[in-house]
């Protein structure tokens, strides 16, 4: 009955929702930013440690739905060790795919993140998937203000 919902809620999503990776407060982060989705109340605090242009460590805290938690968790896995430029490129790619602007391209490049592409079919949930990424963008741009998806 709930079979086709598996496009959105894949096993990887459930896994990262149950056991989010890098879900911790970071001591002495280079950047710290609060993200908020006022529509559903998702909150995230994102921590970054930068080593020159490289994201040496990234972690998060917060509460949210399965999509936003899994997305944040997957994001921390994929951007760690990447340069700021590479992370920015991934943000662009992820944003295009989750908003349906990029139907086919670059799924390979996204790796595990591609499991969230199913969110395209649920416009009301796109912001859940992109909250962590918007927070990352803001943190990299060193925007001290809290981020909102609205």
């Amino acid at each position: 009955m709930l079979d086709h919902i598996r496009d959105l809620y894949q096993e990887v999503v459930f896994d990262h929702n149950r056991n989010p990776r890098n879900f911790r407060v970071m001591e002495a982060p280079s950047r710290k930013i609060d993200g908020f989705n006022p529509l559903c109340g998702d909150r995230i605090t994102l921590y970054l440690k930068l080593d020159g242009p490289v994201i040496a460590d990234v972690s998060f805290q917060g509460s949210g739905c399965a999509i936003s938690t899994a997305s944040a968790s997957l994001m921390t896995e994929i951007v760690r060790g990447k340069t700021e430029e590479e992370a920015h490129h991934l943000f662009e790619l992820f944003h295009r795919i989750t908003t349906g602007q990029d139907e086919v391209a670059n799924f390979e490049e996204l790796g595990k993140l591609a499991v969230l592409a199913g969110v395209r079919a649920y416009p009301a949930r796109v912001k859940c998937a992109t909250l962590a990424w918007h927070s990352l963008e803001a943190a990299l741009n060193n925007e001290g203000e809290a981020v909102s998806t609205e």
Partner: protein
């Protein structure tokens, strides 16, 4: 659909829910391959064909601007528009149609009272008393007023069951209190407040009371004269009528003394560049061309409710709520938010380890529409320490079978989430 293990209560005698369902064309459809189960009525209810036809008829046959033309169509539109006002007066049992102001909805009505009554009477240090279970629309207009006047917002706390702490309310009333504004029925918790008591205590000190009836009006018989409330506000779209139209009831003496809210056409008697004379009630508060067809549609909705009877509707909805509550309590992972002794047909809940947004998306897959979010009542969410809840809210056309579908849907999604 699996069979419930709990016996259902006997259906309310004489309440033909299937007949009423047939009056709502939108309900006769499938969503994601399942019959639509619409349980988001507290956000907005669906419209009976009588309302859709009434709006359509205005535009097909009777439409022109109101209160202006001498021609036939203008007269027809005016008669129907004013007829709707009379229907609204009867719905609330107001003394006069002069006390019925058409607005866009409950939100605009509260803003009108805040900016007209509040701004003209409140001073720095005065207090406005609201409750901890208010919708943002009965919080923010008062905060804005406080910023403008230096008045102070005070909040009546609530218990964990979701009931107002009435002793605290009595303590909060003082010589500084200039207005009490509370909800008749909470949209996030379903609590029906003891408004008679609230009004009596305020009136003992000569303090006027505004009741937010957005949720209560579709479920309760409201008699503003018996209640003796000073202002009562409601939205048409929750009352099976169109969106964009609502009602402000105000006691005539108060409305008369209040300055206009907006300036423009229709609210004036005479205009020169030196001076403007304002129109009489209720037109003083109805600047500009109103939502003519929508007001007439709201009138049709009130007529429709009259054919069933609000008492019968309330009895049916209470049966749905009792059954849904009983069934919900059999799910160990489910926590009901809001368990007041006196509740309207709202079941707000959370599930362990499953965010309300996920609940909403998953239930939609089996055709069930619920609200997931903070219900425009973020302070209520903060009080219960949850970011959001899922909310099933019932209306006159919902059935016990739909409650079963909801409960089965919840059980399924718990399984999916593991």
């Amino acid at each position: 659909m699996s069979v419930s293990v709990f016996p259902k209560q006997a259906p309310t005698v004489g309440y033909d829910v299937e007949r009423y369902r047939a009056d709502f064309p939108i309900l006769q459809q499938a969503i994601n391959g399942h019959p639509l189960v619409y349980l988001d009525n507290a956000a907005s209810s669906q419209k009976p064909k009588a309302v859709i036809d009434a709006i359509s008829r205005v535009y097909l046959q009777d439409y022109a601007n109101v209160h202006r033309g001498v021609h036939t169509l203008s007269q027809r539109a005016t008669d129907q528009f004013e007829g709707a006002r009379e229907k609204a007066r009867r719905l609330l049992n107001a003394a006069k149609t002069e006390e019925i102001v058409f607005v866009r909805g409950a939100t605009e009505a509260i803003n009108l009272v805040a900016q007209s009554y509040g701004r003209s009477t409140l001073q720095a240090g005065d207090e406005i008393l609201i409750s901890a279970m208010e919708h943002h629309s009965n919080i923010v207009p008062w905060q804005m007023l406080c910023q403008q006047t230096g008045a102070v917002l005070k909040v009546i706390p609530i218990s964990h069951q979701g009931e107002l702490l009435l002793e605290r309310y009595a303590d909060l009333l003082s010589d500084r209190t200039k207005l009490v504004a509370v909800t008749h029925m909470s949209n996030a918790l379903g609590t029906i407040n003891p408004v008679e008591h609230i009004i009596r205590l305020a009136h003992e000190r000569g303090i006027p009371v505004l009741l937010d009836g957005a949720q209560a009006a579709p479920h309760l018989v409201v008699d503003v004269r018996a209640l003796d409330c000073d202002f009562y506000v409601l939205s048409g779209h929750k009352l099976y009528g169109p969106s964009g139209i609502g009602i402000l009831y105000g006691k005539e003496a108060l409305l008369k003394a209040m300055p206009p809210y907006q300036g423009g056409g229709d609210m004036i008697r005479m205009v020169s560049f030196e001076r403007t004379q304002y129109n009489t009630l209720p037109y003083k508060f109805e600047a500009g061309t109103p939502a003519i067809a929508d007001a007439i549609g709201l009138g049709a909705a009130i007529d429709y409710l009259g054919t069933i009877g609000l008492e019968a509707i309330a009895a049916h909805e209470n049966e749905l709520l009792a059954y849904a509550t009983q069934q919900a309590r059999t799910i160990p992972q489910l926590k009901i938010i809001g368990e007041a002794a006196h509740k309207g047909a709202i079941l707000s809940f959370t599930l362990d380890h499953i965010h309300p947004h996920d609940i909403g998306t998953l239930l939609d897959q089996v055709g069930i529409a619920v609200r997931a979010g903070h219900h425009c009542a973020m302070p209520v969410m903060d009080f219960y320490g949850v970011p959001a809840t899922a909310r099933a809210s019932f209306a006159l056309y919902n059935t016990l079978e739909e409650v079963d579908a909801l409960i089965n849907g919840i059980k399924q999604l718990i399984e999916v989430f593991g």
